[in-house]
Assembly symmetry: C2
Homo-oligomer: 429 residues x 2
């Protein structure tokens, strides 16, 4: 049964700019700080942020079983814990309140003043307290490119890659929302041909074009989530820039995987777009050969057609789009990732985040990192101002955007936009 | 200046059994559920648990700047956030209240009834909400053993090992306290000589003898913690069993490190022993050659002499000690681990946990895992009941204990004791 929130004919009484990522069909969730310095959970239509805490206090959700303070929190974790049925009831109701034919809020100026904010009046926060963050490595094109560069071009994929949605644990504490500048990391690297490592600023700071999904409480320790049930535990998705220091990574990552090369910062877009909102944009994911083991076998369309772009903007300059990719290229689906992650009984909680891994497409202009786009720096990119980039330079702003489009409905994610600052300087004592 | 809580002459009016891990010099912190089903923060002397929430409500901490509810919480995170000065004031005060010459609580039967519990009356909980968990790999003997077995016996240590306290991110959600049984994981493995992986129960479930330290809020994102300040941000230590499925690990871990082989469960002892309590047991850590890079260079004694033991007890049988090791063997110190972890600006929060990595000593009877003790299963161990073990079998209970001893004072950690259950069986529909 199609979700009524997805009806492409639906219109809202709020103004929605052409090509907005946030029509009434989107209804994402986020957390923001209001002009009165109050933190609340909210949604967004067009360029208006909706204070769900205030809406709830005014009685607009009175027929939905919600605790009084469910939206008056600084994270979405508790709301996400309420489960899929509640998410749907709330989105249905928001869709109803802002429907062009519904006058209950539209004609109540006092309530509108309390509930609605322009985007300039608010400051977006991290939407969830991320308990655990896992990053996958699920783009075949990306894994192949990395294998060609660093291992054997003829056998670029490692033997386990086609059998396992390979993943590793990342660092939750370093995840920041769009708009938070991050610092170039210091670290150990091994210069080419040397045996002794040196210490200094990373010279190869890179973005990774990724998306990530946010889970609800899914299981108890020791019990797996079957692949066909997995999507029920996915609340929604965000854009994700998995900042990487390639030179630090190269020296540190054998045998236990990436560590300081990744955990200096990771950036996400602040609005979580629900899986329900993405429902119309399902596509078949790439055919999997060999057939995965039974616990990873899925039916139906488990991919999503999400257009992705990355731009680099030098300080004071113009942004240049450096790649255009798509989430539909992912070889392993989110359902498979979650089923694999829990097949051993690993516990998944509300607010956990799982990254896709770098999303590279089949052609060089669709690669999801500077490492691949410039082929390890061998083919620098030229930006619109004529400057060239092998990797990301200090004061560059990297912005990822993403949206789906079908039947004249565009569901977008906004952006994750991050400036890279120079290394931290210890103050002289 | 020596801490007065460490005075070896100090005696308490509470009974302390001979060889107890918890004399008045220890004063660890934990979280427990009382007979009235109330969760509180507590400490322990001998076989008595002390309800710090109740002590505080009764006014015993009135001269220390503490919020009213600081101990009436289900985790220690906020108390740990209060910082080292506060931890010391509280431990000093507890040491004073329970001093043999102090009658204020000793002679107040009503208060004693409220504040004291026997260990049988309470149920220990996880002491902190672990935001991020990192596991290091800092025993040279362990890294060498693994290198000999799986790589090149002549070049067992990887090139980065002597320069970097190698570490990786683990899964916080699967960490459980002593006494919580864990399940044998299901997963993918590659049988020897085969090219296609199979799915089934792990056949090589192992313990890893580790210790872990718990941090306080240490920095802001982007700023490193200097090695000489690092210990100020370490609240205390616990015993840690980093359960591992060797066959799953072997197939999955290249190139991004261990994942499902580790995150099915990790077990910790419930009492956090403070670094202050461990102060008398400092020893020099092993000499480091080559000299580490300047950001890892430390002065003074940064190792700790902590005796460690692991036993295996079959269902209904007797426990057999299978190894005796010591924390002093660690090549990289906790201070170096924390300095390295933050050199790139990675944020460390209150309640984060960092594991040592398997603690193996120089001789085969000091190895910290079945993998090493049985040399990949080639030399099975014989238990007291005559049965043999290559790895851990269903219904075995693995127990790690640890203590320091000097000047007739024994400071111990209690135990982390965990039964391994068979794989989870999906209920038939």
């Amino acid at each position: 049964m199609p979700l009524k929130t997805n009806n492409p004919e639906k219109k809202t009484w709020l103004p929605v700019p052409i090509n907005s990522d946030f029509p009434i069909q989107n209804i994402p969730f986020g957390v923001f700080l209001t002009r009165d310095d109050i933190i609340t959970i909210g949604s967004r239509i067009g360029d208006y942020a909706i204070d769900l805490g205030a809406l709830h206090q005014l009685g607009y959700f009175k027929d939905i079983p919600l605790t009084d303070d469910i939206f008056l929190q600084d994270t979405l974790n508790d709301f996400i814990s309420d489960g899929k049925k509640t998410w749907r009831l709330v989105r249905n109701r928001i869709s109803e309140i802002f429907d062009i034919n519904n006058n209950e809020l539209k004609n109540n100026e006092e309530h509108k003043n309390i509930v609605l904010f322009t985007m300039e009046e608010i400051e977006m926060q991290l939407p969830v307290q991320i308990g655990d963050y896992t990053d996958f490595y699920s783009s075949k094109e990306h894994a192949t490119n990395v294998g060609k560069m660093f291992r054997d071009p003829a056998n670029a994929l490692l033997p386990n890659w086609l059998h396992i949605p390979v993943g590793y644990h990342g660092r939750s504490s370093s995840i920041v929302p769009s708009g938070t500048a991050v610092r170039r990391p210091m670290g150990q690297t091994l210069p080419a041909g040397e045996e002794q490592p040196i210490f200094g600023p990373s010279k190869l700071v890179d973005f990774e074009l990724e998306m990530a999904f946010i889970t609800t409480d899914a299981n108890v320790l020791g019990e797996p989530i079957p692949v066909e049930e997995a999507e029920n535990y996915i609340f929604g998705m965000v854009l994700f820039n998995d900042w990487s220091a390639r030179d630090i990574q190269k020296w540190e990552y054998v045998p236990l995987g990436p560590f300081l090369a990744k955990n200096f910062a990771s950036s996400i877009s602040p609005w979580i777009v629900t899986l329900d909102a993405l429902e119309p944009f399902r596509v078949a994911s790439p055919e999997q050969t060999p057939t995965p083991l039974p616990y990873l076998q899925q039916t139906g369309k488990k991919g999503f057609d999400i257009n992705l772009e990355v731009s680099i903007m030098p300080e004071g300059g113009k942004a240049t789009t450096v790649t255009r990719s798509n989430f539909k290229y992912m070889y392993w689906t989110m359902a498979q990732q979650l089923a694999h992650h829990t097949i051993n009984g690993c516990k998944v909680n509300s607010g956990d985040m799982m990254g896709s891994g770098t999303i590279s497409g089949p052609t060089p202009d669709t690669y999801g990192s500077m490492l691949e786009l410039t082929w390890r720096g061998e083919k620098p990119l030229t930006l619109e101002d004529g400057s060239t980039r092998k990797f990301i330079e200090d004061y560059d702003t990297v912005t990822i955007t993403g949206y789906c489009k079908k039947d004249n409905v565009r569901i977008g994610f906004g952006e994750v936009s991050t400036k890279l600052l120079p290394v931290f300087q210890q103050k002289k004592k």
